[in-house]
Every structure is written in structure tokens, then in C-alpha cells.
Symmetry: D2
Subunit: 119 residues, 4 copies
């Protein structure tokens, strides 16, 4: 039996749960890095689809509608699920990858300095 | 000054760091849900681009090459960054969304039962 | 009344027909270059979705199944429709753009010369 | 030798030219339906990337800038090239597919009737 899920899931606990989920259903042969990168791209498209005809104002109010909010959360979950499954298949640590990227971007895009007093 | 990053970043600590990063550079007006959903989709395409001409076998060996591995981690980071920024803009908790989706999928795709002894 | 469609539609006749189709339904305000580029990307994802879990061999046989063939033709039509509508909105001639690109690629990727007799 | 290109290329003449282009470079083994659907999706993302941070107003002026216009035409060409190569690999007639889809959509989305005189 699956142990009781802790109240606050972590990215790592969900990643492991997705791995077990796929293994229990025999889906591993399909979960190659190439297939999962394709699936991730498809799901990102489904999230974008929700917004494609909306003005920026309408897009900002999507979460006010319960149906829209459910659809958005559902697509966010799908994108995150395939991203985590890709990371499992490719052997990538997603949090370490993002932390390293933020470090690089802090160098690449320095914070603009405010005008100094003397100016 | 930025406090010392804890040794193990969490999804939430990185999400907050991305929010501060964008705020410090005045990028918030661009970070609408619609724009971020588009950027997420674009980055998912860049991850897929790495694999598009590879056979399943070649795709499985991408991480053996240091250049390929760096590129994959870089694109994973970009996808995760825009997903988290989208969640900030739309007010979505990504871990709760994924946990709820896994619950639904466990009902939707029951584990096939193994053949019983008597068969 | 719509005139009888010529037996062999051209890209240009279909592009015009799509413009009339959108105008008759009052859809023009939605058909901005940005929205249409998003819709094109979403539809390209739907075409890819058909193939995402298939082996290269299975993917090569998708058109043998009438349901699969219909779905593929339907998604090809959607991609082409949004591409043409994007071209209308942005003022791009798609055939001239592609002809120019092929010219550039013929310079960029020269045909490998066969080994000469003397070798 | 390649015959002189007619002044007005057609979709079919460009499709054939792309087929010859790939054959001359030995690229056919890579041009499977699955790989080409992935490449099409990637290129659609690159077109969208041009617009991702723009307001609807800025997006409408992209073609006013020569650099922006070149980039847009270049990405339109890439999307159309992979769409045509996909059609070659899968055996789809893109113009027939689109004409059939427009017919179906004319039934699916009837033109709203204007208010009649008596009202």
C-alpha cells in the first residue's frame, strides 16, 4: 500500500511518485527523453491554448472563473509532470539546474544601478 | 544583500528568487500569464530541438556528452523558470496542482491487476 | 454568393478564402500576429501529439489507419490555416519567403561533392 | 543542372524543391513524420518567440522594422518548409487537406444572420 502522502509534497516526492506511477502501468518504455520532451512541448501548447485569443486584460482574469482556473491548474500539472519525468529519464536535477541558471543570469543581466546622489 | 542560499534550494525558494530577479530588473510588466505561457512553450520547443533529429538510441545518450548535458540542463532550467513565473503571475501552486492531478490520474488509469492464482 | 471553387485550390485562393471566412464571422480583431503565432504553435503541438509516444516505425504507419490519417490531415490543415492567416495579418508572402530561404540554404549547405575519378 | 525556377513558385514546386534539396544532402533518413512534426513545432515556437514579450500594439508593428521583418519571413519559411516536408513524408496533400477543413468549418461555424427587416 502507498504510504500516506505528507501534507506538503515536495518536487522530489512528486517526481518519485510519477516514476512509481509510470512503472506500475508499464509505461517506462515510452518514457524516453525524446518522447517526454515532445510531450512537454505539447502540454505547454495546451496551456498556451487557454490564452491564445484573449487580450492581456482577459488573460489576467482567467483564474477568476472556476472552470478557467481548473483548466490552468490542470495544464500546469501536466507540464510539470512531463518536465519531472523528462528529468528522471535524462538524469537531470531540475532544482540544481535552475539554481545554476539563476546564478548565470545574475551575472548576465546585472541589476541597473539607481542614479547616484551627485547626479 | 542577498542572504546565503541554503544548500538545498526548494521549488518555493527558487520561485521567490525568480520573482525578486524580475522585480529588480523591472520586468514585471512583461510577465503576464499570456506572455509567460508563450515563453514557456517557446522554451519547451528549445528543449525538444536538441532531440529532433536523433534516433531514440542517440537521444538516450545525449547526457554522455558534456556539451549536450549542459544544453539540456540549461533548457530544463528555462522551462522550469517560466513555469514558476507563470504560476506566480496566475496565482497557481504548482506542487498542489500536480499532487491533485496525480490523484485524479490514479483513478483514471487504474493499475492493471496481475493474473490471479487460479487462472 | 460564393463562386464555385476551382477544382485545384492554390495557396493564394485558400488564403483569401480564410480571410473571407474570418471577416464573415467578425473574428478579425482576434487575428493579430501575436495571437496567430500562438495559435500556430498550439496546432503544431497537436500534430506532434499524434506521434509523441510512437516508435519511428509506428509513426511511419500512422497514415495506414483511416482514423490516424484523418487526424493528421486535420492538424496539417489547422497549421496551414493559421500560418496563412498569420501571413495575412503580418503582410508576409509565404511562397516568396520560402523561395528566398531555399536560395539561402543552397549556399549555406552546399551539396557534398562525390569523390573525383582520380582518387 | 537545376532548371530555371519559374518566376512565380507554387506550393507544389517548392515542395518538390525541398525534396530534392534533402535528397541531394542525404537527409532523407532524418525526415521521418515524427521528426518533422517535432521540427515544425520547434520552428513555430521560434516564430512565436519574436512576439512573446510584445504588447499587441508592438506586435502589430514588427514588420515596420527591416530586421524584424526579415526574422518573421525567415521563421515563416522554416515553418512552411517543415510542414511541406512533413506532408511529403506522410503522404498528405496540404491544399486538399485545408480545402476539406474549410468546408467542414463552414458547416461548423455558420455565418451569423444579420437582423431581418421586420425586427
Amino acid at each position: 500500500m502507498r504510504p500516506v502522502e505528507p501534507q506538503e509534497p515536495t518536487l522530489e516526492s512528486l517526481r518519485q511518485r510519477l516514476t512509481e506511477f509510470a512503472a506500475a502501468r508499464g509505461w517506462e518504455p515510452f518514457h524516453t527523453p525524446k518522447n517526454l520532451a515532445a510531450a512537454l512541448s505539447v502540454e505547454a501548447g495546451e496551456l498556451l491554448e487557454i490564452f491564445q485569443w484573449l487580450t492581456p486584460e482577459q488573460a489576467g482574469r482567467v483564474m477568476d472563473d472556476p472552470g478557467g482556473a481548473h483548466r490552468v491548474r490542470d495544464e500546469v500539472a501536466d507540464v510539470l509532470a512531463y518536465l519531472l519525468q523528462f528529468c528522471t529519464a535524462a538524469g537531470v536535477d531540475p532544482l540544481a539546474a535552475l539554481a545554476a541558471k539563476i546564478e548565470r543570469n545574475e551575472v548576465r543581466f546585472p541589476v541597473p544601478k539607481p542614479p547616484t546622489e551627485g547626479r
